[in-house]
């Protein structure tokens, strides 16, 4: 490994004659080697636990309660079947896909509508509405928890997917509006003006002219919302109680298996459930990693 880095030109002494004993004369070789060790160790720390979880899903209960650092004796998919069927991971997964699909679509539609109007139209109260939205980013959600529960309950939406979807949308709006209104402001006004000249209505201008132009911003923030809502744990455990286990989302379901599991429990099943919760996210991450990284960090580097 040291030779890999030593091959690169030395930044600090460009004019130095070619070193003879590279390792001895060039302290950066050692530095490079140490850097690689540090990076490699951290990479193993990240990947290790996840790989171990996959492997554990193929073990038997006895193997799991033996030495942790062994491979499973046989690779069978029994535990995966049990987790999917008996532990209802399949059901939880479908619920989550349904809820997140609806709430992300809703967030994007309502968020971009509000952001567009706030960014491109002057009217009395514009700043007030904008700051109302943006202030939502500074409040900890735990402050609202008790009243939120009762608001949802009084609307008859407790223990329903609709309630969860509406709450997800409402709590995703501050950041979405904040981000997208900044984005709409950067778009040129001339195209929209031309469309309006040609008799295009405000609504049509928004959907057919502005939305396509805002695509890069919309994609980043969509990814941000999908991940945030997919990984949400607090709101589901408050809004979907134990009475409606068939409506639970994946994080809730997996956490519940682990807390209710005693020593009698189906541990390989738990690991299979964990793997099933991790794998789809991981595949999507690997495919879209560039967009996801920029989508998630875009909020911070504005």
């Amino acid at each position: 490994m040291a030779t890999d880095t030593a091959r690169k030109p030395d930044a600090t002494r460009p004019a130095a004659p070619a070193p003879v004993g590279r390792r001895a004369k060039n302290p950066l070789g050692v530095f490079g080697a140490l850097s690689h060790v540090a990076l490699l160790v951290w990479a193993i720390l990240i990947v290790g636990p996840i790989v171990w979880t996959f492997l554990s899903s193929f073990k038997t209960n006895t193997e799991i309660f033996g030495d942790a650092i062994t491979l499973p004796a046989t690779f069978g998919w029994d535990a995966w079947g049990r987790a999917w069927e008996k532990a209802h991971i399949g059901q939880y997964m479908l619920n989550t896909v349904f809820v997140v699909a609806c709430s992300t679509a809703g967030t994007m539609l309502l968020g971009s509508m509000a952001a567009y109007v706030l960014a491109r139209y002057t009217f009395p109260g514009n700043r007030l509405v904008y700051f109302l939205f943006v202030s939502g980013m500074t409040f900890p959600v735990f402050l609202a928890l008790v009243p939120l529960f009762f608001v949802v309950k009084n609307l008859g939406l407790i223990d329903t997917h609709l309630g969860l979807i509406l709450v997800y949308i409402a709590y995703s709006l501050p950041f979405t509006v904040f981000f997208l209104s900044a984005f709409f402001k950067t778009l040129p006004t001339s195209v929209a003006e031309a469309a309006m000249m040609d008799g295009c209505s405000h609504t049509r201008t928004f959907f057919q002219v502005m939305m396509p132009m805002a695509k890069p911003g919309l994609i980043s923030i969509t990814i941000f919302n999908i991940l945030g809502q997919w990984n949400q744990y607090l709101l589901p455990i408050v809004l979907l109680s134990g009475n409606v286990e068939d409506k639970w989302v994946i994080t809730q379901g997996v956490a519940n298996i682990s807390t209710s599991a005693g020593y009698e429990a189906d541990w390989p099943g738990l690991f299979a459930a964990l793997s099933m919760a991790i794998i789809p996210v991981m595949i999507i991450y690997i495919i879209f990693q560039r967009q996801i990284q920029s989508g998630l960090t875009s909020g911070a580097v504005k």
């Binding site: 950066l28 850097s35 009217f123 609202a144 939120l148 744990y233 991790i278």
Partner: protein, 303 residues
Amino acid sequence: MRQGKYPFIVGFLAAPVLLYVVFVISPYIQAFYISMTNWKGISANPQFIGLENFTRLFDDEVFWAAVRHHGVLLLVMPLVTIVIALFFAFLLNLSGGQRGGRMTGIWGSKVYRVIFFLPQVLAVAIVGVLFQAIYRPDGTGVINGLLGKVGVGPVGWLIDPDIALLSIIAVMVWQAVGFYVVLFSAGMSSIPKDVFEAAALDGAGRFTLFFRITIPLLWDTMQVAWVYLGIAAFDAFALVQVLSVDRGGPDNSTTVLPMEIWRTAFNFSKFGYASAMGVALFFMTITFAALTLRVTRRERIEF
């Protein structure tokens, strides 16, 4: 501007504003009022009791334990995360020397970046369940299994009150580092390359480049990171709820305010008291953010 502007504005704003006011603004406002009532149980009739809940908070040991834990989280978690992330971001972006006039990262930096960021896309609750198995107190846990191989006795990562909180902080760092590596990388790539060139020509080594050039020019990004991590230090709910023994245990040694708010409200049905904790949490978060922005303010460097 032209006809139909106001109907259009109202039409576009009505639904989002309504939803937002009903589910976000109104609960926040109600929370301040509820915190001054003795509301207990679902059907009971709450009465206004002024600041009594807050005076009770002052004598509540669990509350102070939670506040202390936020203090520890706030000191340790952001610092460790930022140091590790800065180090890796530097290695990945700037330590490979110059090639074609550009500062380059170390060999394999793209792969490392993808791997490091991975925990960020996993749900905190899922990560919590994962680390329960990693931290198991006997040889069946991954860490103790490995320690056993080198002859070190098992450590009760989560059941020893002295280290339980640190074990949880380690998981937070594990998950957060990748995000800040990417964030700092973006910051580093926006530093003009001639700054590094000039420094390198003047004979600056890697350590000088890191401490004298990179860190000062990255100050803004680091400040953002500090605020983000600080706000995360006031949360920690999902991890404590899923990972810790007895949800905040052993002996309240890992509990945090969000955990206590949730428990007080939904296990004990003391809604007034829970809201008072919420208000306390709110003021702590706001104070932290305001203080950070004030204390760390420096003259902005424009490129």
